[in-house]
């Protein structure tokens, strides 16, 4: 264990008597936490994954937390921009804590399935004589330590800023309040999860969580895009949050008021109330989680992974569903049995794999948000659809940028389609007599296009029609065809892999980064060319013909991929 972990462990275990009073076994708590932290440190973070694979060495991973710490530090520096907003503490800190809490919640949401709902706990800890309260507190503290590694470096820049601008006391008060904010964030997410567990069946739980994750990710992205623009419209220097009465409902306002009151000893009645809430609530909320929500938590959790719900319901009526939609598309777009099989396989896997949805679908949201923001932000004085239509060249190029931006989504989707945590199940491709694995790959790429990309294309089309009108249709068609060409190019250059056949932890091929850059460069080039010809219908038609020809060539080429061009099966086993 590294020094950060050890120090943090000592801190969280300090109130031993308090824990014991709650009926928690401190020695058990300590050992659970020690080993969880040890395991955390050996799980590679994203930076280390890349480095490890590119060296092709099997170096053991230690101290992966240090990378995370550096990243959060940068984030904290970015947060400092709120101190340029307005000129009183409450305004500064309301915004600061708002960003802080949102960012933390985002981290929590994305880490929760692996940290809070660690399924291995069911096998390792639940059969041992550990009581529910100890178990839940261990989880909470684990998350807390996990978060501290993010929170402390993130808070540090503002802490230093406040200490220099005012004095050390301001720094200390701020620091304590950030811890409160952290507690509150833990409570928020925890309560949401526990409530969902209470009201739904464990089977559906994971699905609901993944939809929340998707929604939340999009929401956060949208707010990051929109909030600064809205702020930009306010009078920057004289802006003050203090006079809106609804603010009493905003958690970050409570904390800001608490800071102001303690630091200046001045507060209005409302600010005092807010400050008191700010102090009491985080502590109370954690107490509520442990006392009332925890006891039923474990049982429910055990059910998530357990075999409950395997009752033999006959789902014959249901069976007609997705398989048949997929099948009717497959019948039209695939040319032989193997390709059709590949299509249907990927179609079903994509529509059902939680992992795939969580990683890919938020990006669709991002692109929509980005596009809308770009279209709206162009005109600062009173936006109306009519204006946009009149000023159509601007809108057209925004739409074109949108189309080529979606290359990034496609790249994500293609990458995700080759991974699966069930990658070992891909033995089936290797033992069956498939002459050309290219047929399977071709089928799954088609499934990706029809299930994933056409959806994006449709959204783009709708946005374009709303903002620009029918005149843009030829450009949209060319753009979408080009994008399909780009999909095939990406696969041909970088991802000649069978669908859902690679392990996530074992992914980065050396040189992949350069290839990714190269692919994005191609998209950029195609996009720029399109941008220069978008007014000229003749050029568009010519470009369209070239694009379609290229598409046929690439699609045919892809189907000819042989086993030799695919990574050796032995890598997987």
């Amino acid at each position: 264990m590294n020094i950060f972990n050890e120090a943090l462990l000592k801190i969280v275990l300090a109130p031993k008597k308090l824990y014991a009073g709650w009926g928690i076994s401190v020695p058990q708590l300590k050992s659970i936490l020690t080993y969880k932290l040890l395991m955390d440190d050996r799980r590679p973070n994203s930076i280390q994954q890349t480095r490890q694979r590119s060296n092709n060495s099997k170096k053991e991973i230690n101290n992966s937390s240090i990378g995370t710490i550096l990243m959060s530090g940068l984030m904290g520096i970015f947060f400092l921009m709120v101190f340029r907003l307005g000129n009183d503490h409450i305004t500064h800190l309301t915004f600061y804590f708002a960003m802080f809490i949102t960012f933390l919640c985002m981290i929590l949401i994305s880490d929760f399935t692996s940290v809070l709902i660690d399924v291995r706990d069911n096998y390792i800890i639940l059969p041992k004589p550990v009581n529910d309260k100890t178990f839940v507190l261990a989880r909470l503290l684990h998350i807390f330590i996990h978060i501290c590694k993010t929170v402390l470096p993130m808070v540090l820049p503002a802490l230093i800023y406040l200490s220099i601008m005012y004095n050390g006391i301001a720094g200390i008060i701020f620091f304590v309040l950030s811890l409160f904010a952290t507690l509150f964030s833990i409570f928020l997410i925890n309560a949401v999860y526990i409530i969902i567990l209470k009201i739904t069946t464990p089977e559906k739980f994971k699905n609901i969580i993944s939809y929340i994750q998707i929604f939340f990710a999009i929401f956060i992205y949208a707010s990051y895009q929109l909030v600064p623009r809205l702020i930009g419209k306010m009078e920057l220097q004289n802006f003050e949050v203090a006079h809106s009465s609804w603010l009493i409902l905003v958690p970050s306002y409570w904390l800001a008021c608490a800071f102001n009151w303690v630091f200046t000893f001045q507060a209005t009645a409302i600010e005092m109330v807010a400050a008191i809430i700010g102090f009491v609530l985080p502590v109370a909320s954690i107490y509520v989680v442990i006392k009332y929500l925890a006891p039923s938590f474990n049982q429910k959790l055990a059910m998530i992974t357990g075999s409950e719900g395997a009752s033999p319901t006959k789902r014959k009526a249901n069976y007609q569903g997705s398989w048949n939609i997929g099948e009717s598309i497959a019948a039209k777009v695939t040319t032989n049995e193997i390709e059709k099989t590949g299509f249907l396989f990927s179609w079903n896997m994509m529509s059902r794999s939680r992992d795939f949805k969580v990683k890919v679908y938020p990006s669709i949201g991002y692109i929509i948000v980005l596009l809308v923001v770009m279209l709206l932000s162009g005109n600062t004085k009173g936006i109306s659809l009519q204006d946009l239509r009149n000023d159509s060249s601007k809108s057209v190029y925004t739409i074109i940028i949108g189309i080529y931006f979606s290359s990034i989504l496609v790249l994500t989707a293609i990458t995700q389609m080759t991974y699966s945590d069930k990658f070992k199940a891909s033995w089936m491709f290797y033992i069956t007599p498939i002459e050309k694995p290219g047929e399977i790959i071709s089928g799954s790429i088609k499934a990706l296009i029809f299930q994933f990309y056409l959806f994006i294309a449709l959204i783009l089309l709708v946005i374009a029609l709303v903002f620009v009108g029918p005149s843009i249709i030829p450009n949209i068609i060319l753009g979408i065809t080009n994008q399909v060409v780009i999909i095939y190019l990406i696969v041909t250059i970088g991802y000649k892999e069978l669908p859902f056949s690679k392990s996530l932890s074992n992914t980065q091929k050396s040189g992949m980064f350069i290839r990714t850059i190269f692919m994005l460069f191609i998209c950029l080039v195609i996009g720029v060319i399109h941008f220069y010809i978008f007014r000229n219908t003749v050029f568009i038609i010519v470009a369209f013909i070239i694009s379609v020809t290229l598409l046929f060539f690439l699609a045919n080429n892809l189907r000819k991929i042989t086993w030799k061009q695919i990574k050796l099966a032995g890598d997987n086993w």
């Binding site: 089977e203 075999s307 719900g309 395997a310 033999p312 319901t313 006959k314 789902r315 014959k316 249901n318 069976y319 398989w323 049995e337 193997i338 059709k340 099989t341 249907l344 396989f345 079903n348 896997m349 059902r352 794999s353 699966s420 069930k422 070992k424 199940a425 033995w427 089936m428 491709f429 290797y430 033992i431 069956t432 007599p433 498939i434 002459e435 859902f500 086993w563 050796l568 099966a569 032995g570 086993w573």
Partner: protein, 258 residues
């Protein structure tokens, strides 16, 4: 008995990095044989199986299946092999029906025939009610049944079974054992890989014992008994593969309490 071997392995070597797992396996299996392939953990059993069914291709030596070289004509060889893997690894967001249909399609089976067989096989395994249910809620035994069906679906000549009974209930175990002998009577070759000595003893008519990458015993159970003295297969196994006395190891374990 047919004199041309259906599986022929000559001088098979395989290493993972510096760790040599197979050190010259020579083996000929004839049609209709039920071959029990046994050995201690790490002896190279799974590696042999993976090479036989085409999962591992970077080996040295020659492996032919019904005359097809596993390196050059793998596709033809794979057509006549059915494989039931050891761990229940399958894409469990699919339903058994979808999964088996997918497998059938990969083997290039006729769709109608395939559906018919899926229905019959799943009914035989009493899984007809679960046919359209996703496998992520399935127990280990249920998954194993689906895997067994996937290995038999295309009516292969060679069936490679790697611990096929794991997770199955007693009734299914009896059923599978009977199935194995019926398949053998039908002329199928069974390559049976397992740690369960009592089952291997009963189902196989030829037993191969490997240890540290080489074959240390080869023959029917009767022949092995003649060579090694009248012992159970378990005792023969222990005698041939363990240096220290196993009884002592158990004593040592008990002594750990003191």
């Amino acid at each position: 008995m047919n004199t041309t071997p259906i599986i022929s392995i000559k001088n098979l070597y395989k290493s993972y990095g510096i760790n040599q797992v197979l050190k010259g396996i020579n083996l000929e299996v004839y049609p209709g044989q039920v071959l029990g392939y046994i050995g201690p953990n790490g002896a190279g059993k799974s590696t042999t199986v993976k090479i036989l069914c085409g999962l591992l291709t970077d080996y040295e030596g020659e492996v032919t299946i019904n005359g097809f070289d596993m390196k050059k004509e793998a596709v033809s060889a794979k057509k006549i092999i059915g494989y039931v893997p050891e761990l229940a690894e399958l894409y469990d967001v699919l339903t058994p029906f979808e999964y088996l249909q997918f497998m059938g399609a990969l083997y290039g089976m006729d769709e109608v025939l395939c559906m018919d067989r899926i229905n019959k096989m799943m009914s035989a395994f009493s899984l007809q009610d679960n046919l359209h249910q996703r496998m992520d809620t399935f127990s280990k035994g249920m998954r194993q049944k689906v895997l067994l069906a996937s290995g038999l679906l295309h009516n292969p000549d060679i069936i490679i079974l790697d611990e096929p009974l794991s997770g199955l209930d007693a009734n299914s175990v009896i059923m599978v054992k009977e199935l194995i002998s019926k398949l053998a009577k039908d002329g199928k070759t069974i390559f049976y890989c397992s740690h369960m000595m009592d089952v291997v003893e009963k189902v196989s008519d030829r037993i191969i014992l490997i240890d540290k990458g080489i074959i240390v015993a080869d023959g029917s159970f009767e022949e092995l008994k003649e060579q090694q003295g009248n012992q159970s297969l378990e005792q023969i196994f222990a005698h041939l593969t363990s240096k220290d006395s196993i009884g002592k190891a158990a004593d040592d374990l008990m002594n750990a309490f003191n």
